[in-house]
Point group: C2
Chain length 387, copies 2
DNA sequence: CCCCCTTAGTAAAGGGGGTCTACTAACAAA
DNA sequence: TTTGTTAGTAGACCCCCTTTACTAAGGGGG
């Protein structure tokens, strides 16, 4: 046998990193991947014939038939009859994802005062919506309350529940351990494992801003090549998606941009104990108080000034990562005007053309249910490999 | 088995992204991955017994034996005799990577005046070194010169050459197309494809700062969970590695941090045509002229002031990505003092504890051959899946 | 010294996974 | 009709890893 070293080897990116335990790949993993490929296509493109699936995935029609029949057996996919329209050859049978066959329970814990939840269909549509006042509960009490809340949601589901997704503030590790969420008094709380235990269902937990980014990627039309969403509410958070997957950070704290100092001196005291954080000028309360009772002109100037600081903070990030989009999520009446425009101006001023030429800076396309949608994506991608 | 060739197989992460064409995974890809796993382990951990490889990779001893014998047949791996030391059971036979069986040709095009090249063994040791004055050549001329230069290096190799790696300034796409490298007058030059054609060898090209990051990851001890290297030379560049893989950016311009504006007003004119870029204060010429003829104290102050600007620019990036390390690469007498210390101080001041607590900010561990090492990693990872 | 135990490495059978080839089904157009 | 085209499936085959069982080669205790 002659040497054959001149070939390019498939390194499945990330897997060959020496950091995470080196992980073997088996044929069945390939199978799972290809299965996800099919679901992914059906999810985003809608009903498709097997032959078209084969063309789209580069798999053979035989393999696709096999995968599809397995998915049909699982109840995730169904035949939808012959494709309408006249063309040559045997008519194609469309198969589609049964988006109503399962449901997802999603919870948004962003708000300090209440938890918001929903039962959603697989395509992200909200079927049942519910909220519950937290009444100052924290720590284990809050976990108990959350468990009851979720049980209620599960009970109101009209289809089998695929899993539970939760968006929480604070630092959350990939296993759903809440490392720290000070306002909830959660420190190293194994939220996902705990709830999965109690509920007997798969539970996925992640940072709220991070999954907002996921939601914009999956349900919005954000460019997965690299974009960032800045969420403006009681606080300021961010989520970064690069190459279709969300940045995590070495201690799971990626996106914590609200506490970057943007005012070297004269900044207000921030909840985090330091002065001049971005949050002290960009969070909704800050913007409201900065514009309260001002003339339109003065209020616009105040918003522009916040935008200037935002732009200054974002310019280096956009340059370092060569992002293609920045999304703003939050009250449009505050964000989608002088603030956004000024931020973009500043970013253009402070970055090189190669970086800012293709950049778009716009409002997020999803509304206040972003985090719920993100929680749904968490479940979709965790359980079905779809995103 | 002859040339099974330039089959460029998919990368696993990002495969599920709906952006790039959905790519199937086959059992043989799993095989290739596992093969890389073995090489990866031998590369980083040194000689290992088959049984230990099985434990490390979670594959069975049978599979490992099979993979190893294939690697031995390819000449990439060899048996090294019985493992020394007494213990129970049948003595283990160590197998190791034949790092001297093949060689790599690496070229560093960072410098405006000369190209630097080397023949390296698979473990990154430089066997032959060579440089060539560019004499103002640009464009196609420069490509011709480069081809001749590389041919010379190949001729001086003492072992079969695995491939050619090139670090170029400018924007380079994943296929080795130099999108733009203004100083070289290269615009959309398919450098990798062109040279591969002429040389009959696999050629990999990437941005110099980006592969410097790769080098620190592979040969240094940078934390692949997330770090960034800032290269300070005639210009200022950066490379970001997250989860073991380098950031690319949606237009392959990730790391272009040298042209972020850091001086809103009063900045010097930059080569890029704008004012107050980081490069105008941090590049080596700028630092030298800022410190020339000054007392130690004044010079230190000047360096600290550059450090302050660097820290200010990096703080948002570190926060957004939750990086664990920042490396500085360049002349230590300029960088490794007040500049670095001040930058770190500023970063600590301007980021929240959860982000800066675990952060280290240090000089890169590789010397002026970083880019050459990075070029070697390019080949190693492209041809063998090792990094 | 012998027996037992442990560890290393291999051979053979088996099963999952995808492709290739060949076939049927079902239509449009000539 | 006949011809050509497209959709979908069946069977044979190859790749790849695992399970099971076996051999090889040591240590240690009685």
């Amino acid at each position: 046998m002659t040497t054959d070293v001149t070939r390019n080897v498939a390194t499945m990116r990330g897997l060959s990193s020496r950091l995470r335990p080196l992980t073997k790949v088996l044929p069945e993993h390939a199978r799972a991947h290809n299965r996800s490929l099919v679901l992914q296509h059906l999810f985003h493109e809608g009903p498709t014939s097997r032959a078209d699936l084969a063309r789209a995935t580069q798999l053979t029609r035989v393999t696709i038939s096999d995968l599809v029949s397995a998915l049909i057996a699982e109840g995730l996919v169904e035949e939808l009859g012959v494709r309408p329209g006249q063309r040559v050859g045997k008519p194609a049978i469309l198969v589609g994802m049964r988006t109503s066959a399962y449901q997802i329970v999603a919870v948004d814990l962003t708000d300090d005062m209440e938890m918001r939840g929903a039962v959603m269909s697989l395509n992200g549509a909200i079927v049942v919506r519910s909220q519950l006042n937290i009444e100052g509960r924290t720590g284990a009490d809050l976990v108990d309350l959350l468990a009851r809340f979720i049980r209620g949601l599960i009970a109101s589901a009209t289809q089998p529940v695929l899993g539970v997704g939760i968006g929480s503030p604070g630092v959350v590790d990939p296993e759903g351990l809440v490392v720290e969420a000070p306002n909830r008094r959660w420190f190293d709380v194994p939220l996902a494992a705990d709830l999965a235990d109690r509920l007997g269902l798969p539970v996925h937990v992640a940072n709220d801003a991070n999954i907002a980014a996921l939601a914009e990627f999956t349900f919005g039309n954000a460019d997965g090549d690299g974009f960032m969403i800045v969420t403006v509410g009681q606080g300021v958070g961010a989520g970064v998606v690069v190459d279709g997957s969300p940045m995590r950070g070495y201690r799971n704290a990626a996106g914590e941009i609200g506490h970057v100092t943007v005012l070297a001196e004269g900044g207000l005291r921030c909840a985090c104990g330091r002065d001049g954080c971005l949050e002290t000028v960009l969070a909704v309360p800050a913007l409201r108080s900065a514009t309260a009772g001002l003339s339109t002109q003065d209020s616009d100037a105040a918003l522009a000034s916040a935008g200037r600081l935002l732009g200054t903070a974002l310019a280096p990030v956009i340059s370092a990562l060569n992002l293609s989009e920045v999304l703003l999520s939050g009250p449009a009446e505050l964000l989608d005007g002088p603030l956004r425009e000024t931020a973009l101006e500043v970013i253009r001023d402070r970055t090189m053309p190669a970086v800012n030429a293709g950049l778009t800076f716009r409002m997020a396309s999803l509304d206040e249910d972003v985090v719920l949608s993100g929680a749904a994506v968490l479940v979709l991608s965790g359980q079905l490999g779809v995103s």
